[in-house]
């Protein structure tokens, strides 16, 4: 068989004999992209159910209640009239936070004491806790400024001067690259890439294992030729799949793409190379596709979690850091998100280099194993026939 015939044979397997393989390569990342694109469609956490226990019931306390009601981040689901009732809301998780305005709230402010508002937040789900504390802080900060300016005005200072005295420093926050703090932009592309990796694993694994099961078919061809011709179609398909996924992410889910297409191209082909190499080596050791699939599924969750995509590398313990460096996804996801959202990734060239070196090494190893195992298997079969 010449090169072309071998590539054709593999394409025939991918498209006719075992269409699953093509399905994995294109389907996995798209399925994940769509599921999570829809899930994180709202972008940010809004309408956190809260209750406000207004023990003061004055004009001033109602202004504060109104400020909470006006925030899109909160939804007031109850106004309890006792501490027990307030705690009941939290206990039953009908509300994730309770704002307790003390009875002498207004009197203290106009008098000579300061007043304390208590925010009780559930710490069980930190995504919610974070929204509660940040937003409450913002609301109370603004409320403070208004009230204190009025207090100084009362001493006889003009309005603007009073405002500057009481709130001498304006605080402005500029959120770069993902200004709306969108979870969709932050999260979804990484999840799609985890599935993309899985798709490559399953497709290449199926191909390698079936090759070992029909080892005599290409027994006369050189092993480098066999492996190259076998893996080439997956390489091309996976690269196309990467860009299809990206296109859907950009067009359908409005994930920004501020980076350069050539950077994306080199990063993707380097990653595909490594993913193909990695799966070829692992598949060479598996006796059946079922075992291989189990391994591959077990691997996928740690691969994503330890890729530094969410939990930053700097916050990992040395043990986890070491493992993270071994996972191919570590070199793709974070860099890809950087390219999409910021237009560049500081470690891009390092990542591409590592992936290329790793990819070439793994594919060479898989080829070497193939040559050895083929030799052994064909010898065994010949011995059985002659014996």
């Amino acid at each position: 068989m010449n090169w072309l015939q071998m590539v054709k044979r593999e394409l025939h397997q991918m498209l006719r004999k075992d269409f699953r393989r093509t399905n994995f390569i294109f389907g996995a990342s798209l399925a994940y992209l769509i599921i999570f694109g829809l899930l994180y469609g709202p972008h940010i956490v809004k309408n956190v159910p809260i209750v406000i226990y207004d023990e003061d019931q004055t004009k001033l306390s109602r202004t504060l209640v109104q400020a909470f009601a006006d925030s899109e981040r909160f939804e007031i689901v109850g106004q309890p009239s006792s501490t027990e009732e307030m705690e009941h809301y939290l206990h039953e998780q009908t509300a994730y936070a309770a704002i307790d305005i003390p009875p002498d709230f207004s009197r203290n402010i106009t008098g000579d004491k300061s007043s304390q508002v208590l925010v009780i937040a559930s710490g069980i789900n930190l995504v919610i806790t974070n929204t509660i504390t940040t937003t409450a802080q913002e609301i109370l900060g603004a409320f403070n400024q208004q009230v204190s300016a009025k207090l100084v005005e009362a001493v006889g200072l003009p309005e603007t001067l009073a405002a500057h005295k009481t709130a001498p420093i304006d605080f402005s926050l500029r959120v770069l690259n993902n200004p709306t703090l969108s979870y969709l932009n932050f999260f979804v592309i990484g999840l799609a890439m985890a599935a993309f990796q899985q798709g490559i694993f399953l497709a290449v694994g199926a191909s390698i294992i079936s090759e070992y099961q029909n080892i005599r078919e290409l027994a006369s061809a050189h092993s480098i030729k066999v492996m190259t011709a076998k893996l080439l179609p997956y390489f091309v398909f996976a690269t196309i799949s990467f860009f299809v996924t990206l296109l859907v992410a950009i067009e359908l889910f409005d994930i920004p793409c501020r980076g350069d297409i050539s950077n994306l191209f080199f990063l993707s082909i380097a990653f595909v190379l490594t993913a193909i190499g990695f799966s070829s080596v692992v598949a060479s050791f598996c006796d059946s596709e079922i075992t291989y699939t189990k391994l591959s599924l077990t691997y996928s969750i740690p691969a994503f979690t330890l890729s530094g995509y969410i939990w930053p590398l700097a916050s990992m313990d040395p043990f986890s850091q070491t493992i993270a460096y071994v996972f191919p996804l570590f070199y793709l996801s974070d860099a890809l998100r950087d390219i999409l959202l910021t237009g560049q990734s500081p470690l891009l060239y390092r990542n591409i280099m590592v992936l290329v070196v790793l990819g070439v090494a793994l594919i060479s190893l898989a080829t070497w194993i193939y040559a050895k195992r083929r030799h052994k298997l064909t010898n065994n079969q010949a011995a059985t026939i002659t014996g």
Binding site: L39, V45, A121, T298, S315
Partner: protein, 384 residues
Amino acid sequence: MFNLLAHEFRALFKNKGAPLLILFGIPILYTVLFGFLYSANSVKNIPLVIFDQDQTSTSRSLVQAFADSERYHIVAQVNSEPDLKETMNKNNAMAALVIPQNFSRDIKLSHATTVMMESNATNLMFANNVLSTSQEIVQTYAAAVGQKLVEGINQPPTQALKTVAPVRMSVRVINNPTASYSNFVLSGLTVNGIQLAIFMVSCTLLTKEYASLARRRELSSLTVIISKLVPCWLMSILSYLVCIGILVSLFGTPLRGSVLQLLLIGSAFNFAVASLGLFISAAAPNVLSAMQNSAIYIMSSFLCSGYSWPQFAMNSFGKAYAAILPITYAAMTIRDILLAAYAPGLLNNTLILIAFGGVFCVLSIAVFSLRRRRFVSEAQEELA
């Protein structure tokens, strides 16, 4: 029946104990691996760059306030806008504090001055932290400065502080007071590992059964299904308890609720997942493709369950998808029992999971009998 159960128990030890290795190995591996990963508990030492254009003692005291916070680690002080940009672009810093020129003078003259915080929000883990902590630091600092200014218009210090910060906010975080990320996420990842392990074992259980149907023709479908389900289910409960033990003893996850409650919801969940796997095993023409195709459902389920992205923030697609996932009813309930000692949905969720498992059990029995009948009649036709 007893003999059959004993036989199926032994089967879990076959192939060098592969099924047992999966049932115990994956959940324990996940628990330990992620336990170490999140051992830092929170994101600290966020790399911060300072662009202080004022360089006065006032501005330096603000910088000091950031330096004193364990959340930040000052990695650089830059002197120009381009340097600032470069440091941020190179990801050497995830946040920047920009203090304007004349900061100190403007404060003294009661002119408005603006401190700016920049945050790189590609990873929200950093951005959310920057958002809440920087606001707190600057507000506290501003209150102290404001106090001094108001003292200047002849108010005594305590009165002045009260004037600039009439309302103080105190935050009490209940059930997870240190906002530990490990407490928040670890038990869910363990439950996810258990789900994956049960699924992998149960969805191959009936495959071999079809091949050896002739031998076991005398057994009713119900008997076959029960004998397959029970050993896998019992072992998975044991594995679940071991993992909870590891979480609590090794990784400091609090156990505030009762073990019995944990056992109740865990058993119901394991039953639901095992039944689902068994159903797939009964119905699939080819186990391999069944396992691979249902992988998307199993693998995506944890993130879609409302465990981190809350259900009230989901759109109708998210809510509908979460409703059909067994893990939705288990993972959060288990976390509630661990952290809050009480899970409002415990009874409801347990019943839903039992019903879920029951339905798939009945379906497995129906599909198994149907396929078995077809197999047998085909075999008889071939013989004839």
